[in-house]
């Protein structure tokens, strides 16, 4: 059994890697015109093989390990897939499959303008390196794969390289990513020094030997280092710049897969290799996560560029995930493994969901951009009549990301927020306050997310087209619609079947917290018998008295997610069930529809023009814009945005009469303003001060050399 499963996994990986190789050769051979088709075909098959590998390990639970080859002086390159890797591998496949199909149509826009061969080659290399990052079992192969991944994601973002804006954003992305990598390398080196080996297993074994300072150093370096990839505050600034310039399908990969790698790194190091043993790091993670979420959504709510908005929202979602992880770390360090498990499940669930709906939304934004040629929501509008399928799937994505049941975002956000409420189990008042504030920040985030995506959908797809271009377009080709459909369907499925996802996640999390929580979280109330020793007796009998066991015969399976069932005496229950909600919703909707049809069957429908206040002609310019919709948020959070007004006044020669007054706003992102601006201006002022040394006189320079020499000698004398 184990052997067979191992064979499946290893063969799967070999097939995947060879498909990537074949793809690269094919890309070089095929003409530019045929390349998108070849890419989508081979990459889809490769994604399926990745899905199989991930799914096999997730379900069977056998970790697979294999040694690749030994490098002289450095050590052995090993690949190891445990459940945590498998989960991320699975998500990677889940996102790559639809995105690869989508690319076939989308890349046509670059035909005759760019070399599509290079695009395909970068794409395969990125795909392969991402999978290798996730399955590498030692520092060396991890870092090699990580660097390859960073560079090829940069190259793909920088694909439209002749635009200055693109290059600038690409460089920023690369620079921040490399800075993060350096921190990660340092963290790994500290661990490797203690264990004397580069193998992850050895690091894990020797984790106990690290001192307090080293532990903190590893935590800080790895958290902020991987935080760059995950787009967490304060290193989130590259995200909203890289996304709008990247091709649509690359954006989907960037948000749906590459950001996950940051979370993977944080989880791998701080929950697996060197488990956080104190509350402090957990609180830092929690705070950073909450701030990222709030800052991300505030900028998303006021952004009018579709892709920039989605990028800011990615920061928000990564923040929510990180906050969940932080809560998990705190619970784990406080000796509450069950709650820690629930928090990790919430975080990982949100991670899956974010990958799904964010790639869906990016594909939607890409389709709109492909068809209309603009992503400015002020210029869009009325697309639902022209692109009904894109609109439908974008709506599904928006509902998911706005955390409305029965879509998937609701489940994970519910779990995360409920986890925050569980802080009552912690004793320290200070930690409780941090939890309360983070919970409040996350709740505000959730509310603003609804605003943001009401705006995103309504301003792009409803109402009147606010630019001439909108009228000329049509629906995108079918090969672009189907992948969006796949993702929308997955969003729905992950939303209505949490009771089947949670046990799988539980098995992923169990080795990290050494506790199984699936029965706590999705108890089999309908099938368990009265007096089962595993469940609180009184509680189950209460459920029985309510008639829960009746459902056994016709309910297909577990349908209820319960977060907390309290004590015997005080059985407070926080429960929800998207499965049942969905069934009830279907009945309600269907019933209402039939009722309305029956009641109004005798009536004739009279169609009249929409009431426009009686003006002669309602022009698109007169309708509500995205800017107008989000202005309340802009006004309320003025202190955060801190805009500076640019006034441009034209006066006549005499200066008495103004012919034109133009008022503009300029916003500097709060992170840039509060963190990077002071740093750069400090460095600049130091540089200016030091520049005074360059007096231009040869004698002074000679004196510097002399002083330097003396100093070196003195220091050497003192030290030796």
């Amino acid at each position: 059994m184990v052997e067979a499963s191992n064979a499946v996994v290893i063969n799967g990986i070999i097939v995947f890697l060879s498909l990537c190789g074949i793809g690269i050769i094919l890309a070089a051979l095929l003409s530019n015109r045929m390349n998108p088709f070849g890419l989508s075909l081979v990459a889809s098959i490769a994604s399926v093989s990745v899905l199989l590998v991930g799914g096999e390990v997730l379900l069977s639970g056998h970790s697979v390990q294999t040694e690749l080859w030994t490098l002289p002086f450095l050590g052995t390159l090993t690949f190891k897939i445990d459940r945590l890797s498998a989960l991320f591998v699975f998500i990677t496949g889940l996102v790559f499959l639809p995105v690869s199909i989508f690319s076939a149509g989308y890349l046509k826009r670059y035909l005759n303008r760019y070399n599509l061969k290079t695009f395909s080659i970068f794409y395969y290399l990125l795909f392969a390196s991402i999978v290798l990052v996730l399955i590498s079992g030692d520092i060396l192969s991890f870092l090699i794969a990580w660097e390859v991944m960073s560079i090829f994601s940069y190259l793909l973002v920088n694909y439209e390289h002749e635009h200055e804006e693109t290059t600038r954003s690409g460089f920023l992305m690369l620079a921040m990513s490399e800075a993060g990598t350096i921190m990660v390398i340092l963290a790994f080196l500290i661990m490797a020094k203690a264990s004397g080996s580069l193998d992850f297993a050895a690091l894990r074994a020797s984790a106990g030997g690290l001192g307090e300072v080293a532990r903190w150093a590893v935590f800080l370096l790895s958290f902020f280092g991987f935080g760059v990839k995950a787009g967490l505050v304060p290193s989130s600034t590259w995200l909203p710049r890289a996304h709008p310039v990247a091709p649509g399908n690359v954006s989907a990969l960037l948000s749906g897969v590459v950001l996950n790698l940051g979370i993977y790194g944080i989880t791998r190091v701080n929950a697996d290799l060197l488990p956080v043993s104190q509350v402090g790091p957990g609180l830092i993670v929690l705070i950073i996560g909450s701030i990222s979420a709030l800052v991300g959504i505030l900028y998303a709510a006021t952004e009018n560029d579709m892709k920039k908005m989605l990028a800011h929202s990615s920061i928000e979602n990564m923040g929510i995930i990180t906050a969940g992880l932080g809560a998990g770390f705190v619970f784990a360090a406080s000796g509450l493994p069950v709650l820690a498990g629930i928090a990790f499940i919430a975080a990982l669930y949100h991670l899956i969901n974010h990958s799904l709906y964010k790639s869906l939304l990016f594909l939607g934004a890409g389709s709109v951009d492909y068809a209309v040629g603009t992503r400015d929501m002020d210029r869009l509008g009325g697309l639902i009549k022209i692109m009904p399928w894109t609109a439908l799937f974008f709506l599904a994505g928006s509902l998911s990301i706005a955390a409305l049941p029965p879509f998937n975002g609701f489940v994970s956000e519910w779990l995360t927020l409920q986890t925050m409420l569980q802080s009552s189990a912690i004793h320290s008042a200070g930690e409780k306050i941090v939890f309360a504030l983070s919970g409040a920040a996350l709740a505000l985030t959730a509310a603003l997310a609804v605003t943001t995506f009401v705006k995103a959908f309504a301003m792009s797809f409803l109402g009147m087209g606010r630019s001439k271009r909108v009228k000329k377009v049509g629906e995108v080709r079918r090969s672009m619609i189907i992948p969006m459909g796949i993702l929308a369907l997955s969003c729905l499925l992950f939303g209505i079947l949490p009771t089947y996802v949670v046990p799988v996640l539980d098995k992923t999390v169990a080795p990290l917290v050494h506790e199984k929580v699936a029965d706590e979280l999705v108890p089999p109330f309908f099938t368990v018998d009265k007096g089962d020793p595993k469940f609180g007796g009184a509680f189950v009998s209460e459920f029985h008295d309510l008639g829960a066991q009746v459902g056994r015969s016709y309910l297909p399976g577990r349908g209820l997610v319960i977060l907390h069932r309290g004590l015997e005496k005080n059985p407070v229950v926080f429960a929800m069930s998207t499965s049942y909600t969905f069934i009830v919703l279907l009945f309600l909707l269907g019933g209402t529809f039939i009722l309305v049809k029956v009641l109004t069957r005798a009536r004739k429908v009279r169609r009249a023009a929409a009431w426009d206040g009686g003006i002669r002609r309602l022009l698109p310019e007169m309708t509500y814009t995205a800017t107008g919709f989000s202005n309340p948020v802009r006004v309320i959070f003025n202190a955060v945005f801190h805009p500076s007004t640019i006034e441009d006044t034209k006066e006549t020669v005499a200066g008495h009469f103004r012919t034109a007054i133009k008022n503009g706003r300029k916003e500097v992102h709060i992170i840039d303003r509060l963190i990077f601006k002071p740093i750069t201006s400090f460095i600049q002022s130091v540089a200016v001060t030091l520049a005074k040394m360059h007096a231009g006189s040869i004698n002074v320079y000679a004196a510097y050399v002399l002083i330097g020499l003396v100093l070196v000698l003195v220091v050497q004398r003192l030290l030796l």
Binding site: R606, A608, A609, A610, W611, D612, G613, G614, I615, R616
Partner: protein, 249 residues
Amino acid sequence: MSKWVIKGLRTGIKTTQYPRKMETASGVSPGLPTAAKGTEKEVQELVFNCPTGAIERSGNQLTVDYNYCIHCFRCKRGSQSPMGWDYGYEWAANTKDSGANRGLGSAFNRSINIRFVDGGACGACISEIEQLNKPYYNMHRLGFFATPTPREADVLLVAGPVTDHMRLPLKKAYDAMPTPKLVMAVGACALSGGIFGPSFMSDAGVSELIPVDVAVPGCPPPPLAIIHGLLLAVKRKSSALLTSSEVRG
């Protein structure tokens, strides 16, 4: 500080009792001419003096067409045989088009939403209509409400002769209203064009554009007359006549 509370309480309820009791306070209505009889000379003078041509004669009998009358008092003051004058206010009447709009059923008896359209009125009718929303006349107590959108409106209230520029908005508002609906024209201008129309830039009343169910004469009609019109629209009051009856004997 809150003297106004005490003052308000001391003042008590000042809202009119109409339609439960007729309002008897002086000055609630300017009144309308009724009819007159006179010698040939007197009759000619009266007809000649009327600025809107509201007075019709048959022999030496004079009757008034309230579609036109602007109660300017020229036929009352300074005339040898003045017209009779009625200081009532229950003037609203059904028109010949009544029923063209599939009027409101009994379900609307105590709740109608009104959309007001100013079809180029001089402002007098508007300020009288405004009074309906104020404490003294307070139409809400009768179940009448103003609404900003014709989509929710049951009654379209129009004042003014309908100028060229207001023709389209009026038509749009009318089309946007769901059936059953009802149109009420308020004031001489809305009924016949009044002293403005028909002219180079206005119609001769609302009925040139859309069918009118209830007409409220007057220039402007006092608020109580408009309330009477609304009550007539929901059939809680009976219709008056748009032409005065002749003088007997």
